[in-house]
Amino acid sequence: MVLSAKGQVLQNIAVQTGIYEMTISAPEIAKSAIPGQFVMVRPIYRSFEPFLNRPFGISNINAVKGTINILYIIVGKGTDLMRELREGDDVFLIGPVGNGFTIKPEQKNIALVAGGMGIAPLLPLAKTLREKGVTTYGLMGASKAAALVGTDAWQENGVQVQIATDDGSVGQRGFVTALLEDLLNKEKIDFIYCCGPTPMMACTVEIAEKHGVPIEVSLEKRMGCGIGVCMGCICKLKEADGSVKQYRVCYDGPVFRGEEVVFDD
């Protein structure tokens, strides 16, 4: 069940330079959301400007408190207005939208591979995996220490965290995909979940396939509606017969099996 509802801002704080986390009271959405799903947000409840809602992966789901969290980075008009929101302000929400990650019982050792803000959907996933009692490795890639978000939340959920930064200001210098190579060489991993910039996901899928490990990726695309009708967020998937077809990231995804995705942009 997808809902369009009024949410109330409970907290809206900076967690890094230019990166904010908003806690929103939205009981019905929190009740039904699963890891990997997202919400469409309109910052000013009573205004149609900015016009389009913004998609944000749900970074925390608290069904008991009836709250969800989102992480956002200030990029333009919409996020600029979101930053201004304070406790008690209303936001317009559509959610939970999209298909979440699939979790199979036979999975015992799991790797989460995140790039930058891409860690958002992998945070509630870590929580769920912990409840399932599986061993989870969290590999995080960021440009620099000051751009790092979410790894604490991973740790709190028992994830074995490794970090790679472009400038080496924290963790290993280089790409997160190098960490994955090492991990797959050392450990037997049953399944990989990945979210981040397109090139990073493309490379991650390549490595996963090389090691024969199944992988799911969560794609990000500019979206108009988030509910499958505007045809703005098209991606290409390989079909069983080898042909390539167009799908909607918001409605058919955002989570897809890594091997089927055509990473062409």
């Binding site: 997808v2 149609f48 389009l52 559509i94 108009g224 509606c225 509910i227 499958g228 505007c230 703005g232």
Partner: protein, 304 residues
């Protein structure tokens, strides 16, 4: 008991609210939010004789109180629509208006021939804002002769009500409306999107992969109202009005300037409940105003 039913060129609808083509798919997705039988009608996403892949690159750009799209009419084709979507829509209690697109008169003709005679189709809406590839990409809807030609070719191939969807990118939309009326159109719907452009100063590039796109949203409402009003004075056939309708008040404004029906476009994007909120809001307004039959307000603008 307030009467909200309208009849548009032989298409009976229990209320005047439709969803505009390309903003509501084929009805499936919105089933998650409400029973689409609450609507007067659905104008399904435009279908072509053969499937279209649409445009490459970025397809959506936000603008002030609106958006640009260059989706390029991606659609699975008439055959797929008839096989997979029409059967589901038949089970719903609303008027199914099939929007048609084409790149040549032959393509329009092929589409209507495939669509004609299928149970459950209440009428056809013909999008003539598509570029005429044989006329250097000039849109059919920007020239009275070309618009009339498409009308004639579609008209002669079906008994279904034919509604021509007019382009606003013209000097005189009344002239185009008269041309399609003379060519046998049963109704007109307007406005289609305004041609626009968005630029990213960081990259110094157009935001849309297709460079230009169609502008929609509350931004175009003032232009749409003016054009519906002009067309209402120019022709006798009924009008389905659209352009930036996001509230019941917007819808009523369109009826006051002459629209018999209204269509919700990208209002469906920003709030999935928009269309049903408009249905309920119109009803409330009629009751508040003591209007017993919605048909009384059509073209009821008071001037002077």
């Amino acid at each position: 008991m307030t009467k909200t039913a309208v009849n548009i060129a032989g298409i009976a609808m229990k209320n005047p609210v439709c969803t505009a083509s390309g903003t509501f798919g084929y009805g499936d997705e919105f089933g998650k939010f409400y029973d689409i039988s609450r609507l007067g009608g659905i104008m399904v996403k435009g279908v072509s004789a053969e499937p279209w892949l649409g445009n490459k690159g970025v397809r959506i750009a936000e603008t002030a109180s609106g958006m640009l799209n260059s989706v390029g009419l991606q659609n699975p084709g008439v055959d797929y629509f008839l096989e997979h979507y029409l059967p589901k829509l038949r089970k719903k209690d609303l008027a199914v208006i099939v929007n048609m697109v084409g790149h040549s008169v032959e393509e329009y003709a092929a589409a209507v021939e495939k669509l004609d005679g299928h149970e459950g189709i209440a009428g056809l809406e013909v999008n003539i804002s598509c570029p005429n590839l044989k006329a250097g990409g000039l849109a059919y809807g920007t020239d009275p002769k070309m618009a009339a030609e498409v009308t004639t070719e579609v008209r002669k191939r079906t008994k279904l009500p034919v509604i021509m969807k007019l382009s606003p990118n013209v000097t005189s939309i009344a002239e185009i409306a008269r041309a399609v009326e003379a060519a046998g159109a049963d109704g007109v719907s307007l406005i289609n999107t305004l041609l626009g452009m968005a630029i990213d100063v960081k990259t110094r590039r157009p935001i849309l992969g297709n460079v230009v796109g169609g502008l929609s949203g509350p931004v175009i409402k003032p232009v749409a109202l003016r054009m519906v009003w002009q067309v209402h004075q120019a022709v006798q056939i009924p009008i389905i009005g659209r352009g930036g309708i996001v509230t019941a008040s917007d819808a009523i404004e369109f009826m006051l300037v002459g629209a018999t029906g209204v269509a919700i476009g990208c209002g469906n994007f920003i709030n999935p409940m928009t269309a049903v909120e408009v249905v309920d809001g119109i009803k409330e307004w009629l009751d508040k105003e003591g209007v017993t039959d919605i048909n009384e307000i059509i073209g009821g603008l008071r001037i002077g």
